[in-house]
């Protein structure tokens, strides 16, 4: 079971539990991103905590505990939860008040638009954006977590970003003339949500 290294003398180190507590918000954020459901996310985090606690001897101190926990959570999701299908998203209540972020030359990026676009990406693309782009894991860690090659992660990342940019109408300088207009229409009409019939 969990060893508390601090008891062995020397500088006090955070206990295994402290590490878990510290990672709970990121674990839950990842669970919310994967499942799209607050209820499932909480179940997932609970399962993950129990598994992590029971397997704490398998965690190598000095390695990234976030990557280790994300691996457990992801495996749990794919073995137990995913077959139930992705529920209608009920995570809206989790978000804080409407926010926008500085989009540089593109002006302010509306976060609600951004989330709508993110929700439309294929699961593997959304996942890699969350792992690498949002939670700050390395390509290598993301590759380990997903059980694929680093090159696969990189290409998913590129495809995901390109597609997001298209959905948001900010696809880039080469297409500004055409896309500016499309983007403006998209933003005004909220055209991200409705799908083509």
């Amino acid at each position: 079971m969990a060893e508390t290294k601090a008891r062995e003398g020397g500088a006090p180190q955070p206990s295994f539990r402290d590490l878990l507590v510290r990672e709970m918000p990121s674990l839950r954020a990842f669970a919310l991103s994967l499942s799209g459901s607050t209820h499932k996310a909480d179940d997932l985090v609970q399962d993950t905590l129990l598994k992590a606690w029971g397997n704490s001897d398998k965690f190598e101190p000095g390695t990234n505990i976030r990557a280790w926990l994300f691996t457990i959570l992801r495996n749990t999701y794919f073995t137990l939860y995913r077959r139930q299908g992705r529920e209608v998203q009920d995570v809206d209540g989790v978000y804080s008040e409407k926010l926008s972020v500085d989009g540089g030359q593109e002006g302010a990026l509306d976060l609600a638009d951004f989330r709508a676009a993110l929700a439309r990406l294929p699961e593997d693309q959304r996942e890699v954006l969350i792992l690498v782009g949002a939670s700050g894991l390395s390509y290598e860690e993301a590759a380990d977590i997903c059980g694929v090659a680093i090159g696969t992660i990189k290409s998913r990342m590129n495809r995901a970003r390109t597609r997001l940019a298209q959905l948001l109408g900010i696809a880039g300088a080469s297409d500004l003339a055409g896309d500016r207009q499309t983007g403006a229409v998209l933003k005004q009409g909220g055209a991200i949500a409705p799908k083509n019939p």
């Binding site: 954020a29 940019a165 696809a171 991200i192």
Partner: protein
């Protein structure tokens, strides 16, 4: 069907024609910022009590074990 269609299926076709080099660094930067803001937002959501209770229970178990081992 191609350029201006934002329907679910057609975006993929478009994505390939863009290629990774086609994405403006400013756009990449904007997406990166939005991703971080989005995730930060999720992280700030209050944790449900049952998860905090669970951790407390696990800690209590650990303390019991340590105590019985004479630590």
């Amino acid at each position: 069907m191609k350029a201006n269609s934002f329907g679910d299926r057609n975006v993929d076709e478009g994505a390939e024609s863009f290629g990774e080099a086609g994405l403006d660094p400013n756009v990449q930067d904007a997406i990166g910022k939005a991703l971080k803001a989005h995730f930060q937002d999720l992280m700030q959501a209050p944790l449900p009590d049952r998860l905090l209770v669970l951790l407390a229970e696990l800690q209590a178990k650990e303390n019991d074990q340590s105590a019985s081992q004479g630590n």
